[in-house]
Symmetry: C2
Subunit: 427 residues, 2 copies
């Protein structure tokens, strides 16, 4: 067995020194290529956006099926046909869904603002009047969730994100005893960045667990509900029904959007919850909003035609992006396999690959990549306050670059991973 | 002189009794017509919305002039060409403008949220940490402003809205001595509902007056900046330059939108202020938003072509709605002139006519109108907490109904005004 496919940690000092020298040379070569690649964010590629360009000629007329002129003011809850379409997709009733603007993140901020200033349907007081408010954050997770919590001054406590979703027992133990623990933020299907899928069992546990706070919330950010990478399409647990059956109907608030179905900047976002939650949300919304862009909602309703139209459309996305994920796995396996310096996910959906490198080297890898012209999400981004306690997780976002760029970027990343590992082990 | 065109208050008891009986009969006749008319909100008519239907076929391609793919994520501050276009219209620099989503009201709520939770660029602390926060509200004014202040728990103090804008001396006196007074909300051009235009002198006074609060804000809601009803087009005072020249560059925050230029539900909203204000706003916005609907911004930029394109487009609106305002004045003059029971504005722009009826009868007029099938904005809506101390102001919104409906509605309103006045004077 050559040094090349033997775990680095088992190699002799001489072998390691040779390995380090080889990687230094490889890195010098990499820098010589003058790359300029960006794998930082989960953005659709132009070819994916092109799939929806029929939107540019829609709607065919300004009125929705109820005869509402979508060009004018009003309709806080969104147009009926799009609510019905996404109610079917999200397994809820149409009156449990609000169709909003172009961003589910904005809807999440609105919900947090309302909870903060007014309290929820089951709150004893506004959250801003609590001594302390804490959210449970499965890690690795989505940086924008953490940023928003931090903006509100909400504390965070982490639990592991397992392959079947958040560690439900850890969540239940935290929520049971501490009334300052007010919620958890979950990407249930094809999680960012691990690709985990919350199982029915995990969802059921979270929906039914006793919580010290009477107004504990599950922010169920189902951003990738329909974003399959294989023909084996995961079905999200029906969190609203589970919570309702457990006597906690107002606990989950679900979010989704077409940002990665049609246009990332010009899609439609959705909120779903109990009818009381929906009424609570629209009542507060109505204090400072007149209505969403209903015309864009009509554009989307006509474009999809039906819930099945959405599903069919997602197949076209899969055909474009699944090969990029395959390529990430191929290059990483070829370059890093057997060396014991990295592991990575092979997601069946979503937008990310979660790469764990040798403890203590993630920041170095990102720095090396940057200096070789490859922009990666900052190390630690998948942890609250950007603090990865092991400095090992890196989020890879392969959808936006062209296939050739994915290959080049992953090859470069592999070189950086190896160099950082060799530096550490030889150091 | 017959009783018909003599001030009601000067008529003898017998004349008044006869007048009352005549109005009761007229009202019974009105009810018999089975009207169903709505003058509640300032909504564009379908014919106005039709003016912008070329939008439905735009944009011609997804990239803006800087080569940005507007379909994808990003660009918190909006696309460059639309910012530049509205910077020209609003007399500011492009970097002082943010192009946002479909609602300037939402931008105002965002700004209030940021001030409340974080404080402004010149605040000593977040407004939520102040003992008390008070806004100055010129009355009559815009109900949605008052609703939003109330939602935040911000107190209000009123000043008169004069024909040249808010009573600047009253504002200055309030702001000079009380540090809890943090701002004023103004519709400077063609105010809602009076049609007043804030003069250069008033604007200069507000921009330069000493304020006890270091972070006093002028919310300059220029919703009707280009919405002229005559060929004599008012120019809004350049509040940003005035404030900057007076050493208070961060005092004004300007808002505008195309809601009543293109589509009320699917337009583009704008915020403008000092570059520090813009940076403050986008920094906070970026904690919970990725970017506005840039595609709709590009659609608008292509539709208008230039700032002059916006002005030309507004002429088409004027040709549709000015005759409706003329009709309001014609009917009210014919039915109410000389009787001393009502006065009303004859605005040169904007969306409203402000009708003052006999003190203590506005609620009765609105109730009578409702029972005759004519929906009016609730009496008192133009005052904070819906409380018109004289119960005399009614806001009329004649743009949405067809011309024939405007005539019928105003004739009906006149009957209600006369009946309520006769009831009161004879009672």
């Amino acid at each position: 067995m050559s040094a090349e496919n033997q775990p680095l940690a088992d190699q002799s000092p001489a072998e390691l020194a040779a390995f380090l020298a080889a990687q230094q040379q490889a890195y010098t070569d990499l820098q010589g290529k003058g790359l300029k690649l960006d794998l930082t964010r989960g953005k659709p590629a132009a070819a994916q956006l092109d799939l929806s360009d029929a939107l540019l000629g829609l709607p065919t007329g300004p009125k929705d099926s109820a005869g509402v002129d979508t060009r004018n003011y009003g309709g806080l809850e969104g147009i009926a046909e799009l609510r019905a379409m996404f109610a079917e997709l999200l397994w809820v009733e149409p009156e449990q869904v609000v169709a909003g603007g172009n961003s589910s993140l904005v809807m999440m901020r609105e919900v947090l603002t309302d909870l903060w200033l007014k309290g929820g349907v089951d709150s004893e007081r506004p959250w801003s009047q609590e001594e302390k408010v804490t959210f449970i954050c499965p890690v690795p997770g989505y940086d924008r969730h953490f940023t928003l919590l931090d903006w509100f001054g909400i504390d965070t406590v982490t639990v592991p994100m397992n392959s079947d979703g958040p560690d439900a027992e850890a969540v239940a133990a935290l929520a049971a005893n501490d009334p300052s623990i007010k919620g958890i933020w979950i990407v249930p299907t094809y999680a960012n960045p691990t690709g985990s899928i919350a199982s029915l069992e995990v969802a059921e546990r979270l929906a039914s667990m006793p919580t010290a706070a009477p107004d504990f919330k599950i922010f169920w950010d189902n951003a990738y509900a329909f974003h399959h990478l294989t023909e084996d399409e995961a079905k999200s647990a029906d969190i609203l029904s589970l919570a309702s059956a457990a006597g906690n109907p107002h606990r989950p608030i679900m979010f989704a959007s077409t940002s990665k179905i049609t246009y990332a900047g010009a899609g439609v976002a959705f909120l779903a919850g109990s009818t009381e939650t929906v009424s609570w949300y629209t009542t507060h919304l109505g204090k400072g909003a007149i209505g969403p862009d209903k015309l864009n909602q009509l554009r989307h309703a006509q474009f999809f035609g039906s819930a099945q139209g959405v599903r069919d459309h997602m197949t076209q996305h899969r055909l474009i992006i699944a090969p990029k994920f395959d390529e990430v796995d191929r290059v990483l396996t070829e370059r890093l396999g057997g060396l014991g310096v990295a592991s990575w996910t092979k997601p069946t959906g979503g937008y990310f690959v979660s790469l764990d490198v040798l403890d203590g080297t993630a920041s170095r890898v990102v720095q090396l990549a940057k200096e070789a012209g490859i922009a990666l999400t900052p190390a630690g981004a998948s942890f609250p306050k950007g603090d990865d306690p092991h400095d090992r997780n890196i989020r890879l976002a392969p959808t936006f670059p062209e296939m050739g760029e994915v290959s080049a970027a992953m090859d470069g990343v592999a070189t950086c991973v190896l160099l950082a590992a060799a530096e550490k082990l030889a150091g």
